[in-house]
Symmetry: C2
Subunit: 346 residues, 2 copies
């Protein structure tokens, strides 16, 4: 029996208790709190005031059980993505998602999933009764998770479009077009022999950016040379290694599919004494905070990572609320940020 004032303040306050204090039934309190229309405005105001005063927090487990809704969103990131630990893209995305969740009074549950999700893991995610929907980042090709999600009828949205299934909702940027423009810009500048360091080709985003590169060349009547396409994996090392492979082929410019890989490419160039942009022009993708601080500052395609995350959250919450959800697709704009890694005069 510890009823000291101090403790009472932090006691788990139930709806029951709150109802008693407000002199109404549990039902009414529940409706007031959940913004149900059929509540007398005065009653609602009184209930909310008391709830505020007593610092009432609904028990989400109970809510989840009763209503089938917890206001918790799952976030799945496959650890198979090598860049998870080295590319600031992920922390920024996670931060965008987390912050949007807070703003919408939701929480986020994190799944750093093994590349081949075991059956058990998927079911855990979906049947735990703990999450209302899920955001999936960094799709690897044909992910079994997507199939399971669909079969379970769990609302979900992808960050990055799905390669084949047009019924899945996603938020993305137009990677292909953004890259096409970036490479077209290099061509206009006068670069003649432009190579590329790609993202992983088992990721949609990797394929799309490579497509954009090819499209730009073709747009100028240039046949893309397979030799000038070096595969990377979105890591700094990957960019470094790819640049080393490219060096003997003497490109005069390189489009690198991520800033983090561009960092590696610059390291490789520095080692052999090549100067940017004099000996070789470089364009990256992302516009991470570090891009502006590189030497020279990196010309790059800016994508709104935080907004991608926030948009995913908002779409997902919509999907959860919408009784008959149809797939939604949102494409956010990119911007080519001109800095010092491309030579403007030839």
């Amino acid at each position: 029996m510890n009823n000291g004032q101090k403790d009472v303040q932090f006691m788990a306050l139930t709806l029951e208790e709150l109802a008693k204090q407000a002199g109404v039934s549990r039902s009414t309190v529940s409706r007031a709190i959940n913004n149900h229309p059929n509540v007398d405005p005065e009653t609602r105001a009184r209930v909310l005031a008391i709830a505020e005063k007593l610092n009432y927090q609904p028990n989400l487990a109970a809510r989840g059980l009763a209503a089938g809704r917890t206001r918790v969103l799952g976030l799945v990131i496959p650890t198979g993505v090598a860049a998870l630990f080295s590319d600031p893209y992920f922390p920024i995305l996670i931060q965008g998602i987390s912050s949007a969740c807070n703003a919408h009074d939701h929480s986020v549950m994190l799944w750093l999933a093994e590349p081949e999700y075991e059956r058990r893991t998927i079911h855990q995610i979906l049947q735990s009764g703990l999450i209302d929907g899920v955001i999936v980042s960094s799709m690897l090709g044909n992910d079994p998770l997507i199939k399971a999600l669909t079969e379970h009828k769990k609302p979900f949205v992808l960050v990055g479009r799905h390669p084949t299934d047009s019924r899945v909702s996603y938020v993305d940027v137009d990677n292909r077009d953004a890259v096409r423009e970036a490479v077209a810009y290099m061509l206009r500048l006068g670069y003649q022999r432009i190579a590329t360091i790609t993202g992983p080709q088992d990721m949609t985003v990797g394929v799309d950016r490579l497509d954009g590169y090819r499209a730009a060349l073709r747009g100028r009547g240039i046949l893309p040379d397979p030799m000038l396409i070096a595969n990377g994996d979105f890591t700094e090392q990957g960019g470094y290694a790819a640049m080393q492979r490219l060096l003997p082929l003497e490109p005069d410019g390189v489009f690198v599919a991520s800033d983090t890989m561009a960092l590696g490419a610059m390291r490789a160039l520095r080692e052999v004494g090549k100067r940017i942009p004099d000996d070789l022009g470089l364009i990256g993708f992302d516009d991470l905070p570090l891009a502006a601080r590189l030497d020279p500052p990196l010309t790059t395609v800016r994508q709104p990572v935080t907004r991608l995350g926030a948009t995913a959250v908002e779409m997902l919450i919509d999907l959860i609320q919408e009784p008959d959800p149809r797939p939604r697709r949102v494409v956010l704009p990119t911007e080519l940020v001109l800095r010092g890694s491309c030579r403007t005069a030839f």
Copy 2:
């Protein structure tokens, strides 16, 4: 009425159903699944077999409500930590925690918390009924969260020791001693004028590493020169700026309190044409994957980040199970990794 085989497979299977299939009561199934001692081994085996076959997943919301235990752990990282977006330390830690949670059949809920948690947020974390305990990373001085956690009697463990309260459980490395050894090593090598770039001094880890630096100097009878102490914030930019401030003072060596800051310091040195280790010796802290790839490879203090995360999870699960938990403190070993950023002959 959709009872096609396919769908049934993914139907949310309840205890009730499972009990029926196994020909026992709900109680028995529950006990079997939760490893309760008083169950006939044969019965248990049968129940588990059926559960496995039907791919039964307990509804965690229901479990949380009934038992007060959800097997969900909260992970709180203050976004006030500037380095969150640039230091791979965090992704690695998160990965360690997530992976250990999976191994122990737990989930992790992520809170990227604003530096001054609003009262409401704290209560949300604690009264949601959704998490059994919390892991707090990167303590900033005297965090109100800790007080709330204690008052709510929620089990929690810190990654990084608490500066003052000896009753809180934590897992940490001995930062002070690790740094003392690193700097002592530089002194033994013959370095005469060793500066340091510190972590934020409102974080315990920042203070501890600076203490270690001072202790090493004093151990050699050298009075630490305040001018040679440049404050950093665990970001690359911070390290860069701090190095620039240090340059005019002409140190011959610098202990940098994180690899990420060392990266920035190296950038500053490169810009002014200083060579490592010939003009200046450098030691970092963390041994991030990139440390070995720097030019020159960075001599640094290795800390087991993944293990820190895993240990935190295990400690927390213990604390949750233990009825009368006493504070636990675990200190993991570090290792000075000798590479090329210190000159060995003078």
